[in-house]
């Protein structure tokens, strides 16, 4: 982690209309550059430079800070601080302190979790009784990852002084794998915080936490996409009415019930198994002639036998439908199809016909 000097100009953090603030800030940067050529502007009113080289040259960090403050205040009020990593250094500048090397975690420990700049995370942590960065950093890493996802994990590493800045988004897969092999899963530290709140405020309970750890372990084995949660949504066919999303470890979040009428939707009960790939099927009448659906949406004959994936024929004992559905009739990808419920003794399938060919779309299992 780089040791950084951060120069913060509290009056210049907001841009004004005339650009006066930016011009003043440019002057500050120029003045600081006289001491060190590697000044990086982080955002308007905030710039950083590496501390180690210049500090050695000017005879110590406190002397460097004093020099920079002197040239800065000639232009505008400035706050200067030194710490390991940008996140801590910006906070150090706000307090006007020099955080000793390796003292980042101790410096951050008493600060409230809201300084991480993640309002959702801060609110959740507060509800769990975790109020400072030090308390957050003391939670085991594997649990933080399982519960708060990769954003929370990045904040956790920053809070513990193990990472310099929050940075951009992290790849969920790589993160999870790295953490799973790391800290051993102990429940003792979180128990104090979670037990008091378990299941009471909603969202996070003991059961959710246990399940979260187990599912994170499965994701270690299969990759993040291996564990999914179903979300219901509007749609005509059974495959369109549900969407499987990768489990993210953020706990249970109830889905708004899909509203709105869907003409052509078949009434409940819904099929228990929706085949991920359609199964080829043949439907024939008593004489063995293939059955189709006419342009008027009627069957061309009486269905008699069904064969799925070229297996043995079974007799169709009852059927319902067909229900034509003319989807996306306004576009080129227009699709005319029809659905038919077919009963073969104790088994029942939902069949789909498209371009004259039958498929098993789902099974009433």
């Amino acid at each position: 982690m780089n040791r950084l000097v951060v120069v913060r100009c509290p009056d210049l953090l907001d841009e004004d209309e005339g650009g006066e603030a930016l011009r003043l800030f440019a002057q500050v940067v120029e003045a600081v550059e006289a001491y060190c050529p590697w000044v990086t502007t982080v955002r308007p009113g905030l710039c950083s430079l590496p501390a180690r080289g210049p500090a050695r040259y000017f005879g110590g960090e406190d002397r460097l800070v004093r020099l920079i403050t002197e040239v800065g205040v000639a232009v505008t009020p400035v706050e200067v601080g030194v710490a390991d990593g940008l996140f801590a250094a910006v906070l150090a500048a706000q307090g006007g302190v020099i955080v000793p090397a390796e003292g980042t975690a101790d410096f951050l420990a008493p600060l409230p979790v809201s300084v991480l700049g993640q309002p959702d995370l801060a609110e959740l942590l507060n509800r769990l009784g975790v109020r400072t960065l030090g308390e957050f950093a003391a939670l085991p890493e594997a649990h933080v990852l399982g519960r708060f996802g990769s954003d929370g994990s990045a904040g956790h590493r920053v809070a513990g002084g193990r990472s310099g800045e929050l940075g951009g988004r992290h790849r969920p897969g790589g993160e999870r794998r790295a953490a799973g092999s790391g800290a051993p899963a102990t429940t003792t530290t979180t128990a104090a915080a979670t037990a008091a709140q378990s299941g009471f405020w909603g969202g996070v309970s003991d059961t959710d936490a246990r399940a979260g750890r187990a599912l994170a372990a499965v994701q270690d084995l299969l990759g993040p996409d291996g564990v999914t949660i179903a979300h219901l949504q509007g749609g005509r066919g059974p495959a369109q009415r549900a969407r499987f999303v990768t489990w993210s470890g953020r706990g249970a979040h109830p889905d708004p019930a899909p509203g709105g009428p869907w003409p052509g939707q078949i009434p409940p009960p819904a099929p228990m198994v929706v085949h991920p790939a359609l199964l080829r099927a043949e439907l024939v009448g008593a004489d063995g002639e293939p059955i189709a659906v006419s342009a008027r949406g009627l069957l061309t004959g009486v269905p008699c036998r069904l064969s799925v994936e070229e297996t043995a024929w079974s007799a169709v004992t009852a059927w319902a439908g067909p229900w034509p559905s003319d989807e996306r009739w306004w576009s080129r990808s227009r699709q005319r199809s029809a659905r038919l419920q077919a009963v073969m003794g104790s088994a029942a399938h939902l069949l789909l016909i498209e371009r004259g060919r039958w498929w098993v779309e789902a099974t009433y299992g």
């Binding site: 000793p100 003292g103 003391a138 399940a211 109830p254 009960p269 319902a320 419920q341 104790s346």
Partner: protein, 261 residues
């Protein structure tokens, strides 16, 4: 220039908690009131409950009136071998119907090895989809995956994608017992090589509602045979609707005869 004083390490502030709240509540009456409050605010299906609830009519069918933690249940049907056959024989519906009541009270459930769950049907059965982890393709690591899931999930439905070896099955059963989870196996044609605590076999089933084009599938009447150890040693047959006209499970009595015209 001010140099930040070193703060106490964070770990120290975590480990010992402040004075326990019970210290001030030493009078027995307060403690009794507190116990009552704890009982009221306790999650319905807590980890201490020995038996997880099931929806009627299964509650009268199962020997403990519910799913006893740590047990293994095998649900089998007259599946005819093919994938579509296993899907069609009602065993998946029965396995998920077993979860519905516990899922409704906040237990986590997982479904391992069934690629193509009809989520709408699961929802109609009463399962809370937000607490149902679906692991559709565990692959060759299915036993390992199931073991990991058992560690943290109360109810696990397993459809083994490959024929299970006896040692593998015994390990999973032992793990479920140790972790106090309920393992529901839908073995299909391959079978389950370990004698389960309870077995539910689906016999005759017939669908209502469809005719010669008119109507639509509305409900299925099925015969279930429950057999097991101890109190359930004598097999019992029962007739029920799964699904009923609403998609949930219903008992085969006049009250359950709503629906089809």
């Amino acid at each position: 220039m001010f140099v930040a004083p070193p703060h106490r390490p964070a770990a120290d502030t975590q480990a010992p908690e402040g004075p326990p709240p019970t210290r001030r509540l030493d009078r027995p009456r307060d403690l009794a009131a507190l116990a009552l409050l704890a009982e009221r605010t306790r999650p319905v299906s807590s980890s201490r409950a020995r038996v997880l609830p099931v929806a009627p009519p299964l509650d009268v069918l199962l020997p403990d009136g519910g799913l006893r933690r740590g047990t293994t249940i095998v649900v089998s049907g007259p599946g005819r071998g093919t994938d579509a056959g296993r899907a069609a024989d009602g065993s998946v519906s029965m396995a998920l119907a077993l979860l519905a009541a516990a899922s409704g009270t906040g237990s986590w459930c997982a479904l391992v090895g069934l690629d193509g769950l009809g989520a709408v049907a699961a929802h109609e059965l009463g399962i809370d989809l937000a607490r149902l982890a679906v692991i559709p393709r565990p692959g060759v690591a299915w036993a390992e995956v199931t073991g990991a899931v058992i560690d943290g999930v109360d109810l696990v439905v397993l459809c083994p994608p490959f024929p299970p070896r006896p040692a593998m099955a015994r390990r999973l059963v032992a793990r479920a017992r140790e972790r106090r989870a309920v393992l529901v196996v839908v073995p299909g044609r391959a079978g389950w090589p370990d004698p389960p605590d309870l077995s539910l076999s689906i016999g005759e089933a017939c669908w209502d509602g469809a005719g010669t084009g008119e109507g639509f599938l509305s409900r299925r009447r099925m015969t279930v045979t429950v057999a097991g150890r101890r109190s359930a040693a004598r097999p019992r047959d029962h007739q029920l609707w799964l699904p009923s006209a609403t998609g949930a499970m219903a008992d085969d009595d006049p009250a359950g005869s709503e629906g089809s015209p």
